[in-house]
């Protein structure tokens, strides 16, 4: 596959799908949504300096990328914290982190590479990315890895051998285009949910960049998004999206229906510069509050 997938595909999409989708959004959205109660479980500061992302494993350990301090902080399920410092290397100013098949993967943004980081700090694999890609986030898509790229405003898919399989997207406001794609999540049926930061929207695509589905549209009201940042799905299949400016955490369905907004004591929560989020098996939402240099943990009510 080449960069633009195919031109004819995009043209067909623009001709038929966009109006349908926009209309669908307008007709299908619940403008009110639920107020989903969040209760604060815990906050971690741990000497963070503007951490950006986090991920967790099956054991409930959470890994916070504190790249300004060139480390990953482990918030252990058993309590306590530790840190992983890279041996003989650095991921200073990296942005994204993912836990994939038992390994930590870091989107080493300024150095155009992905790093596979062992828990002892050893970097066991370095994937150099082409095209000057500055990876913001990395997620697993089956055996593949998907990388969002703030430099080219595109999405790159790597195969099981970490070779670039294809990439798609360009700078723009149309579907299939981005102005700074950021954090991502995988939804059922291999739907790739992408926060399109400066287009102020969240859209899901097929892995190859087709069949866009607007999840959250631009705006500063409930059910809208202004600075889409962290994205994750809970066990119920709800797509949780953090808004980096309003500080809101909102839930949407995979079909783009606004489900509800996280509230605490009757008011929508307003976190300080929320970025990466992760929902654990206990239905707790972990969120990096980057602007406050902390991580907060919220219990999502049933």
């Amino acid at each position: 596959m080449n960069r633009a997938l195919t031109k004819s595909t995009n043209m067909r999409m623009n001709k038929y799908l966009i109006p349908l989708l926009i209309s669908g959004i307008s007709l299908g959205q619940d403008p009110i949504g639920l107020e989903i109660n969040f209760s604060l479980v815990q906050e971690y500061e741990a000497g963070f300096t503007f951490p950006t992302d986090l991920c967790g494993n099956e054991q409930g350990d959470v890994f916070v990328l504190d790249a300004m301090n060139d480390r990953v902080v482990v918030l252990k399920a058993s309590g306590g914290t530790s840190e992983i410092k890279p041996q003989r290397d650095s991921f200073y100013k990296a942005v994204g982190i993912a836990y994939i098949n038992g390994d930590l993967w870091i989107a080493d943004t300024p150095r155009s590479r992905l790093l596979k980081l062992q828990l002892d700090g050893r970097i066991s694999e370095v994937i150099k990315l082409d095209h000057g890609i500055e990876p913001v986030d990395v997620i697993a898509a089956g055996a593949y890895k998907v990388v969002s790229d703030r430099m080219n405003h595109s999405i790159t898919v790597l195969d099981e051998n970490a070779k670039e399989k294809y990439h798609w997207g360009s700078r723009g406001e149309g579907f299939g285009q981005f102005i700074n794609p950021g954090f991502m999540a995988m939804a059922p049926e291999n739907r790739l949910i992408i926060g399109d930061i400066l287009n102020r929207r969240v859209v899901s695509y097929s892995q190859s960049g087709r069949y866009p589905q607007v999840i959250a549209k631009p705006g500063v009201e409930r059910g809208q998004i202004f600075r889409p940042k962290g994205i994750d799905l809970d066990a119920q299949g709800r797509i949780w999206i953090a808004d980096g400016y309003t500080g809101a955490i909102q839930a949407f369905s995979v079909s783009g229906k606004f489900i509800g907004i996280a509230t605490n004591k009757g008011k929508s929560i307003a976190l300080k510069g929320p970025m990466g989020i992760w929902v654990d098996k206990q239905n707790r939402l972990w969120v990096v509050e980057a602007f406050a240099s902390k991580v907060s943990v919220w219990q999502i009510s049933k």
Binding site: V95, G219, V220, G273
Partner: protein
């Protein structure tokens, strides 16, 4: 079917239209593009307050009367958190962070928040030209940073040259600033070169008060000052009661230089007396109450202020017309020119090789000859310190001197160690009166300290408005003179052609005649005994270590005679001497009779017929001697007969080096009418006894 499908599309499109038709408008009602609301969050139209997610903010900025959300750091961070651009290090910095007070700055034309503090928008605006456009101001700055205009909008008081580190100067490629250092156009220094405005440090490479890392990045050569006496962090470290600037850590620069707000040029940390000019920077410390009072500058040393260089001297970096300054010879940052000298904090005493000299005064006299090239002829003479006499002296006195400083001391007196009287004699006799030098002048020298009249205006030493005769009247210690051997002059015995004489005394005795011009009558007479190495004077006279003080008569060995004069004359006038054909058979006037001089008798000058004692000529009472009747310099007392004639002309009573006619002799006092007989046959031992 097709028509139905198209209608459905139109219907669906119209239903969905409102959601895409809803635009954004600014507070003036003007429709704005989607791009605007990327930041202008308040421009979203028709935001339902109940549905609004806009956080409550205490906005310190008002735009068009409305609290502004955009310029707040929280908004900036939504992009600059790494997802769009990464400016986290800036947000992490306490340097120029939002809310910072502008206590010391004079803010001109830059917006501040409602509290008068800075915020992101003080310096930045997204509405400036994009950085990739010509004239664009990255990163979205209100003013140019490449020429420091941005910084100087608030810190204009820190831009004045000399009192602050200069801007817009190009730095050499060998600088060791960090790779990400900001440079102005063409690699010039600008404010942000040293002050990364959002860096973790206010100034690059500065730890506390210690600027060593920063300064050395470009001025590494100046860090040769470390551990020298000018490194006050070292030399004054353990001294109490010091005066002067506070010393900051291990920063060797801070004692003298401050980066901003200096009190004098060269970013000088201390007050300078403007009357002292450029030398004031040195004298400020090297004065009686200064930090360097142990080495007080003296005005009697090498002349500096007001003296201009007469030639280009690349080695010292001076050009014709440059004023001579302390720094002409001294590099205050470098104790020893070659950097081979191990330094400690021991405040060691300087030598001609150290002492912050730009070049050493070594065996080649490197420093001094850069200007005093004409004196370099000395280095191959017996006055070179490489001669064994000097070397032996150095070994035994455990001292070491350079070619020039062995005699000259730049900071006490041009001829060091003279404490009054004749400085030249004092200086010369330091060596020529000792055991190390074969040319000691220990006795019977040419008279010194006397006034003299020199045709060539020869030098001497000044006293009471007079020029008195001294060593330098006849000698220039820097110029050996004509070298007559093929080898260098080392340990050569000098003669009238060299011997460091100011004027060559050969073949004519020009040096002697420069003062003793009347003695030129000896030339071309039978007493003119000049030869290929000796002038007419030198056979009879020697200016140093003579046999007699009077007349500085040369040594005569074992020649016969009763008196000095007789011995002197008979050294030639003997059967084996140069004047063997003019032997003197009778001589020696009886000594039992004292003779009154003409002056004592009131009959003329004592020089008409000088009489002598054992100590020399006497103006009152003495004895008759050879020179009573003869003047060896004058063939005839008659001028017309004095003209040079043929060699070995036979004399008579008008010539024969007689001083005066016989009728003016003293002899008549005792000999009455027999005088003429006695006079005529004085040298005939038989006839003179007839009467």
């Amino acid at each position: 079917m097709k028509i139905f499908f198209k209608l459905m599309l139109v219907l669906i499109f119209l239903i969905g239209l409102p959601s895409v038709m809803l635009g954004q408008h600014n507070p003036d009602g003007r429709k704005v593009s989607l791009e605007c609301v990327t930041c202008h969050v308040s421009w979203h139209d028709a935001v339902n307050s109940k549905m609004s997610l806009l956080p409550e903010v205490d906005a310190p900025i008002q735009l068009q009367g409305i609290p502004a959300r955009i310029p707040m750091a929280a908004m900036c961070f939504t992009c600059h958190d790494g997802t769009v651009k990464d400016s986290r290090q800036i947000f992490a910095s306490n340097n120029h962070k939002p809310g910072m007070q502008v206590q010391h700055a004079d803010v001109q034309g830059m917006p501040l928040d409602k509290n008068g503090n800075i915020y992101c928008g003080t310096c930045h605006t997204p509405h400036s030209l994009k950085p990739d456009r010509i004239g664009g101001l990255a990163p979205f700055l209100r003013k140019e940073k490449n020429n420091s205009a941005l910084c100087l909008s608030c810190h204009s008081n820190q831009s004045k040259d000399h009192l602050n580190h200069p801007l817009k100067v190009k730095v050499g490629a060998g600088n060791k600033m960090a790779k990400n250092t900001f440079w102005g156009k063409d690699g010039t220094i600008e404010c942000m070169t040293c002050h990364p405005i959002h860096g973790t440090q206010a100034v690059t490479g500065v730890q506390g008060n210690d600027r060593s890392e920063l300064c050395s990045s470009c001025h590494e050569a100046y860090f040769k000052i470390k551990l020298t006496d000018h490194d006050l962090t070292s030399s004054l470290k353990n001294k109490s009661g010091t005066i002067g600037p506070e010393l900051g850590g291990n920063d060797p620069c801070v004692a003298c230089h401050v980066s901003h707000g200096a009190k004098a040029k060269h970013m000088w940390a201390m007050e300078i007396d403007p009357k002292l000019g450029e030398n004031g920077y040195c004298i400020g410390c090297h004065s009686n109450d200064g930090l360097g009072r142990a080495k007080v500058y003296s005005h009697v040393g090498h002349p500096v202020s007001g003296n201009l260089a007469k030639r280009n001297v690349p080695a010292l970096g001076i050009k014709i017309g440059d004023e001579l300054l302390c720094k002409t010879c001294h590099d205050p940052h470098q104790w020893e020119f070659s950097q081979k000298h191990g330094l400690s904090t021991a405040n060691e005493e300087g030598t001609e090789y150290t002492s912050f000299l730009r070049l050493p005064d070594d065996a080649q006299g490197q420093l001094c000859v850069t200007c005093h090239q004409n004196q370099a002829t000395m280095f191959s003479s017996d006055h070179s310190v490489s001669r064994e006499g000097f070397q032996q002296f150095f070994r035994e006195s455990n001292t070491l001197h350079g070619q020039c400083t062995v005699c000259h001391d730049s900071h006490t007196d041009a001829l060091g160690s003279s404490t009054g009287g004749d400085p030249y004699a004092v200086l010369c006799l330091r060596c020529h009166d000792g055991e190390y030098f074969p040319t000691s002048v220990v006795h019977n020298n040419h008279p010194m300290g006397v006034p003299f009249i020199s045709t060539s205006k020869l030098g001497g030493y000044k006293k009471d408005g007079q020029t008195l005769l001294s060593c330098n009247t006849c000698h220039d210690p820097h110029k050996w003179g004509k070298t007559v051997e093929s080898s260098k002059t080392a340990d050569l015995k000098g003669d009238d052609r060299n011997s460091f004489l100011n004027i060559s005394n050969w073949p004519e005795p020009k040096l002697c005649l420069d003062c003793h011009s009347k003695k030129a009558t000896v030339l071309m007479t039978d007493h003119d005994l000049s030869d290929p190495s000796r002038s007419a004077c030198s056979l009879c006279h020697t200016p140093h270590n003579a046999e007699t003080q009077y007349g500085i008569l040369a040594r005569w060995g074992g020649s016969p005679g009763e008196s000095f004069n007789e011995k002197h004359c008979f050294s030639c006038h003997n059967k084996d001497g140069l004047a063997a054909n003019k032997l003197v058979e009778g001589y020696s006037h009886p000594r039992e009779f004292g003779i009154l001089s003409p002056a004592a008798r009131g009959q003329g000058s004592w020089l008409d017929f000088p009489i002598f004692t054992e100590g020399g000529p006497s103006q009152t009472v003495g004895h008759i001697d050879c020179f009573t009747c003869h003047d060896p310099h004058t063939w005839s007392y008659k001028a017309e007969l004095q003209k040079p004639g043929r060699v070995n002309e036979e004399g008579n009573d008008l010539t024969s080096f007689l001083r005066n006619p016989s009728q003016r002799t003293l002899c008549t006092d005792c000999h009455g009418e027999n005088t003429l007989w006695k006079y005529n046959y004085y040298h005939d031992p038989v006839k003179r006894k007839r009467y």
